[in-house]
């Protein structure tokens, strides 16, 4: 067994044990339900650093028959020194009998030496039924801490605190649903106070989580940069024969282009959520709107995939070869005039005939035609709309705990003025990248530059 600290999250059923584990373990696969008894067996959440366990959280089922269990133990009590042995005997006697399954399950990690994290709901009133649970935990002799998790709207924290302080040395309030990242780290550091030997691994774990958070900003910056570049360079096109009515195809092409943009934005959202360990978020967000008045352009296309410039180059080169042959024929006395003339005539012919070539047909197959293209958006504001929405989404995700299972409703990003908050030099740098993309500069370079620009912006938004 590993020597890494073990922490058992225990308590009454339905008091937010799983929420706390979900938030601290950044794991949204933890089942959280208002129905009691959702957790039926212990589930371990090891925090590993390069494969080495730093500490393990254990989510446990809640106490179901605490008074009866305590009564059994009291019947066998001799001295305080025997308390732990009695608890061990209790688990030994009842394991698998069906009578105290939940108690045996939750006490097992505690008897393995786990630190106890006793969770109560600070929004509901304190009750005497909790005392038997706390007494049993005290009998185990393991270091313990009480966590007041205010789940609902009520405020009974003061009453809970005074009751809990009679059983636990450390009592902390921790809202698993809204705790920001720093609060989570603070709590982990506090776990290290339970036993001296646990301080170092917990400190190491906290440092690693802080480093990881920094890396997360790079990964998110990259995901957003890739999405931005894809959306800003996306287009939908259709090859038409020369003379075909382009307007007939425009609405379908525009729809295809918009669908492509929206799907890419959704992929970007999922990528960002995944970086933060959110895999099950239900998102409600308005679709991105295009701002361009006219998204369409058309150009000629040719069989063999050559563009007009390549056709001209090929024509000029062919002309130069023919002209060169004439130069050779006259023994060089033409001083390469043939080559120059040939290249000029070949290039010019290719330029003027390219339009005609597009209309030509061989065996009833067109040699070329018109390429109707929708997008990419040329509107100078479009990149900022996409980026603003992405930053807004990131801010919501970065601040969201893994215990939060509500749908993520994203309102209007413009309300947050994400772009206006940026310093002028950053906006200028962004504008340079967007301009270079509109010019057709390499997407890979733009992604690198955008990633470097966005990383500090995201870190500040998360800070």
């Amino acid at each position: 067994m590993s020597d890494a600290p073990l922490f058992a999250v225990v308590g009454h059923p339905n008091k937010g044990k799983s929420s706390i584990v979900s938030t601290l373990a950044q794991d949204d696969s933890v089942r959280i339900a208002p129905e009691p008894g959702t957790t039926v067996t212990c589930r371990r959440y090891p925090m590993k650093l390069d494969g080495r366990v730093q500490y393990t959280l254990v989510d446990t089922p809640g106490f179901q028959r605490a008074r009866r269990a305590l009564a059994w133990m009291r019947e066998r009590e001799t001295t305080a020194a025997e308390h732990r042995a009695v608890v061990e005997a209790f688990v030994e006697a009842h394991r698998g009998t069906g009578r105290f399954d939940d108690e045996c399950e939750l006490l097992t990690p505690v008897l393995e030496g786990a630190g106890i994290l006793y969770v109560v709901d600070g929004s509901l009133p304190y009750g005497p039924e909790y005392e038997a649970e706390m007494e049993i935990l005290r009998w185990t002799g393991e270091p313990s801490m009480a966590l007041i998790n205010p789940i609902g709207g009520g405020d009974h924290i003061a009453a809970w605190r005074s009751a809990l302080e009679q059983y636990f040395k450390i009592v902390r309030v921790f809202d698993a649903l809204t705790a920001p990242f720093e609060k989570r780290l603070e709590l982990l550091r506090a776990f290290g106070q339970l036993r001296e030997a646990w301080r170092a691994p917990l400190e190491e774990a906290v440092r690693a989580l802080e480093d990881e958070r920094g890396r997360v900003h790079f990964r998110v910056a990259r995901a957003i940069a890739e999405m931005l570049v894809d959306m800003l360079t996306a287009s939908a096109s259709r090859r038409l024969e020369v003379g075909a009515n382009a307007s007939f195809y425009e609405s379908a092409l525009e729809r295809e282009y918009e669908d492509r943009l929206r799907e890419r934005e959704r992929q970007g959202r999922r990528a960002v959520e995944r970086v933060y360990g959110h895999h099950r978020i239900e998102r409600r967000e308005g679709e991105v709107e295009l701002l361009d008045q006219d998204l369409f352009s058309s150009e000629h296309w040719y069989l063999w995939g050559l563009n007009r410039r390549q056709l001209v180059a090929t024509g000029a080169a062919s002309g130069a070869v023919l002209g060169g042959a004439v130069d050779v024929g006259v023994g060089g006395t033409s001083l390469l005039l043939g080559t120059v003339l040939g290249a000029t005539v070949g290039g010019a012919t290719a330029w003027w005939s390219s339009g005609r070539l597009a209309r030509a047909r061989v065996l009833n197959l067109p040699l070329g035609g018109r390429l109707l293209r929708c997008g990419p958006s040329r509107d100078v504001n479009f990149p900022y709309v996409v980026l603003g929405r992405a930053l807004y989404h990131h801010a919501r995700i970065a601040g969201r705990t893994h215990a939060n299972r509500e749908a993520l409703a994203l309102g209007e990003a413009s309300e947050e003025n994400w772009i206006e908050r940026l310093p002028r030099e950053r906006r200028d740098a962004l504008e340079r990248v967007f301009r270079s993309l509109r010019r057709g500069d390499p997407a890979a370079v733009a992604i690198e530059t955008l990633t470097a620009l966005l990383e500090p912006i995201l870190a500040e938004a998360d800070g």
Partner: protein
């Protein structure tokens, strides 16, 4: 294999394309695990990526990179053969002498010096950086034309003769260059230029070999002849200028004024003197070597050097490399559970009507469970609007207290229902359900037991539980499968 070679570039692209289909979690675990093993000697980022690639794709003769390089080598050899034959053929044609007309020195110089220098100039234009090409009007289309007719491109004509796997690897390499033209544009440019220079070197080697062969094994006569108004003095100046690179140490290779003067030839004159023309061959071979072969060798070395540099640059800029470096350099932090969560008890709808109303003023026995805030019988009667015949507390303190309550209720001789008032905000734990079971045993099979989960209301008056609290209590009572046990609904709220 050299670091950042062409094979590695192809392999890296192929690997990153494969990785793009895998989950980020898998990639992080795999790459970080590898990185911890490769840590020694991989302090430089590029070397770390190379070490990673070598580990993940160990030198595999069947890998796409190796196959593409092998295919490239085979195609290069084919290109070299073509160059050798063409060079030899050209030399054979230019050095042809059947005794009627001498070899025209002007023609040899035009092809092996003039044309070669022009082609070298064209190559240099093609190798200009993209920015310089864009700044000079007309250079773009010229470069396109040069690339289209580059001998380096002829290699691809031999593709069909390659084995299928090598052909596939080469096509994949070509597709990579095409797809990411902007990223691999420089690689493609230098790859084509290196191919062209390789062809040029072969061409000149073939030409030199053939010229040497003809000089050694046949008797050649040389003369210079042109229609242009070129005096022997002017031609001497041209040849002296051309011979300057070796004139200091090899005077035999420099045409003299006498030689130039004696070997001017007019076809109309019809005769020539072969004997004094022989020294021309040294000059011509030196010209072919210095102005033909040497520039091609230099350009070949330059193109290969630039190709390696372009590959190294592309290596760093390939999309996915930055993410790969992040995976290699950052410690792998895992916090989530390693196992699936065990499923809880299945939720089923409430099968029986478990909700009961008690008419106002009806008689009942009240048990307050676990400290629900009802002080005594009088308060309970007022709060619930019922006639409370007995009042007791259970669910707190010692279990003996619960036993006493059960005993008291068992002794009650009436049929009044037993109302167990519990905190609706707490879940119905098994301890309470155990108590209900024991209560059933105590009061008999047909006595009504009503579980009343209530909220603490204003003053003494409790309030009805809201959903979803009420529903969990209904489900708990339903699971008891006891038709005489129900959940209390305050009057008017029963369903």
């Amino acid at each position: 294999m050299k670091a950042s070679s062409l094979a590695r570039l192809v392999d890296l692209t192929a690997q990153l394309e494969e990785d793009a289909k895998r989950s980020p979690e898998f990639l992080r675990r795999r790459d970080r695990t590898l990185a911890t093993r490769l840590a020694a000697g991989a302090d430089d980022a590029e070397r770390a990526v190379v070490a990673w690639l070598d580990h993940i794709r160990p030198d595999d003769p069947e890998g796409p990179g190796e196959r593409a390089v092998r295919a490239n080598r085979v195609l290069g050899m084919g290109l070299a053969l073509v160059g050798l034959f063409l060079g030899a053929g050209t030399a054979a044609a230019l050095f042809h002498y059947d005794g009627s007309h001498p070899v025209n020195v002007v023609r040899v110089l035009a092809v092996f010096v003039g044309l070669q220098l022009a082609l070298v100039a064209v190559t240099l234009v093609a190798s200009l950086p993209e920015r310089a090409r864009a700044a000079i009007p007309g250079l773009g289309p010229l470069r396109d034309a040069l690339v289209t007719f580059s001998p380096g491109r002829w290699r691809l004509a031999g593709l069909r003769f390659l084995p299928p796997r090598q052909r596939e690897a080469t096509e994949r390499f070509r597709a990579m260059l095409e797809r990411q033209r902007r990223l691999y544009g420089e690689v493609e440019k230098w790859w084509l230029l290196a191919g062209s220079q390789w062809f040029g070197v072969s061409f000149h080697l073939g030409a030199l070999a053939m010229a040497l062969f003809l000089v050694v094994f046949t008797d050649l006569a040389f003369a210079w002849s042109t229609t242009l108004d070129l005096s022997p003095e002017a031609f001497l100046r041209v040849t002296s200028a051309l011979a300057r690179p070796w004139s200091a140490f090899w005077t035999d290779g420099v045409p003299t004024a006498a030689l130039v003067g004696e070997t001017q030839y007019f076809r109309a004159a019809g005769s020539h003197n072969a004997a004094p023309s022989a020294p021309w061959w040294r000059f011509l071979l030196a010209c072919m070597l210095v102005y033909g072969l040497a520039p091609r060798l230099a350009l070949l070395a330059f193109a290969r050097w630039r190709l390696q540099a372009a590959i190294r640059r592309a290596f760093r800029r390939i999309p996915g490399v930055a993410a790969l470096r992040d995976r290699l350099e950052s410690r792998l932090v895992e916090t989530a559970a390693e196992t699936e969560e065990a499923s809880g008890p299945p939720q089923r709808p409430v099968l029986q009507d478990v909700v009961a109303e008690i008419p106002a003023g009806a008689a009942c026995h009240v048990v307050v469970w676990s400290g629900f805030p009802l002080a005594d019988a009088e308060v309970a009667s007022r709060a619930l609007g019922l006639e409370v015949r007995s009042f007791a507390s259970a669910g707190e303190g010692a279990l003996e207290n619960d036993a006493r309550v059960l005993a008291t209720l068992a002794e009650a001789r009436d049929d009044a229902p037993v109302l167990v008032v519990a905190k609706a905000w707490e879940p119905p734990v098994l301890e309470l359900l155990d108590f209900i079971g024991e209560l059933r045993d105590a009061v008999g099979a047909e006595r009504a037991i009503v579980l009343a989960p209530l909220m603490a209301g204003e003053g003494d008056r409790p309030a009805a539980a809201s959903e979803p609290e009420a529903s969990q209590w209904r489900r708990a009572v339903d699971r008891l499968a006891d038709p005489w046990t129900s959940v209390y609904a305050p009057v008017g709220e029963g369903t």
